[in-house]
Symmetry: C2
Subunit: 202 residues, 2 copies
């Protein structure tokens, strides 16, 4: 197909397609005339992946480039990579003490669940930074621990139920879009709890 058709079928504007090609995120089409290139279904697929990861998953062009490069390798460490993207947005608005305390809580949790987590796991650091943020915001001391345990229990159950993705691309989609889906369902479940409580109060 021509670039116009590629744009139409993917919903991605032509300038964005050209940007992705310049950035090396999308292979060039095969030239059929001096100024005309032909694109295949693989281009359409890659384009949809890029849009989903950047817009639904909130990944930057730099993060996309790193992920695409690593996707070619065997043993693609998808969870580590996504752990790093979790970390990138967290401000250091907590003290060293708050962080140490939070890290100890996260490590105690990892032990309780007998999770095998490497010491330099980005998700471990991110979890500690998030708990430290909660503490700095003055959330009562009991809440993070209750939250931590409850969330860990459900995260564990969800991870063990996951179908094994067949390709790195699929693993990436499952993780990034799955995150969004999980949050949307969390919002729906909370809307329901609120509606139920309001009904009960009437």
């Amino acid at each position: 197909m021509r670039i116009g058709a590629l744009s139409k079928r993917s919903g991605v504007p032509v300038p964005t397609i050209k940007f992705y090609m310049r950035e090396g995120l999308l292979p060039a089409g095969s030239l059929t005339h001096v100024n005309q290139a032909q694109y295949e279904e693989t281009h359409l697929r890659r384009l949809r992946l890029l849009q989903a990861l950047s817009q639904v998953g909130g990944l930057s062009v730099k993060q996309l480039r790193g992920i695409l490069a690593l996707m070619e390798k065997p043993d693609f460490p998808v969870h580590e990579l996504l752990g790093q993207t979790l970390l990138s947005g967290i401000p250091r608005s907590y003290t060293n003490d708050e962080y140490s305390h939070a890290l100890a809580e996260v490590d105690a949790l990892i032990s309780r669940y007998r999770w095998q987590i490497s010491d330099d796991s980005p998700a471990r650091i991110a979890a500690a930074a998030i708990v430290a943020t909660l503490c700095a915001l003055g959330t009562p001391a009991h809440l993070p621990m209750g939250l931590l345990d409850r969330f860990a229990y459900h995260a564990d159950a969800m991870a063990f139920g996951d179908d094994t993705a067949e390709t790195p691309e699929q693993a990436l989609i499952d993780a990034v879009i799955g995150d969004r889906l999980l949050l949307a369902l969390r919002r729906l479940a909370e809307e329901n709890v609120q509606a139920t409580m309001e009904k009960g109060a009437q």
Copy 2:
């Protein structure tokens, strides 16, 4: 305290503090001299909230302004607001048919769980858009349904276990930072599953 101390204690640079004041997100300090203002603990608290919501939660200044305005109202609809922020990043890279099909799946799920959800719930629309994105990406037809049910089950269990937040501010923190914490724990649980599988394969 003076603005320098406020900056030091919050970890927020002075220019960012001034930006928040100009944008009406942070009240001005009380003037003690012509060119010197005094800030209270309430400023520090608000500042930490702003940083957490913008940097951990990824909310824009426009979204922050909307949320702060609504926080003053009774019956602060926190879940609806956050549902809208979920929606804002999702590109329309699916067909009308894919969206209709996805919405029908989400509605069937809402019925199965007997969730009370309004028709114009932003989280409902967001969930449908995310499922449609998964379909457009060519995820096998059985996966979204399996994912949907499993995520809904756990989202439901987590929502009913939630302590009721005492203030709108707390509800907001629980939801936004809680989302991040949940994703970090999901990443940890997945890292563990992967480590366990690799050990089993050896």
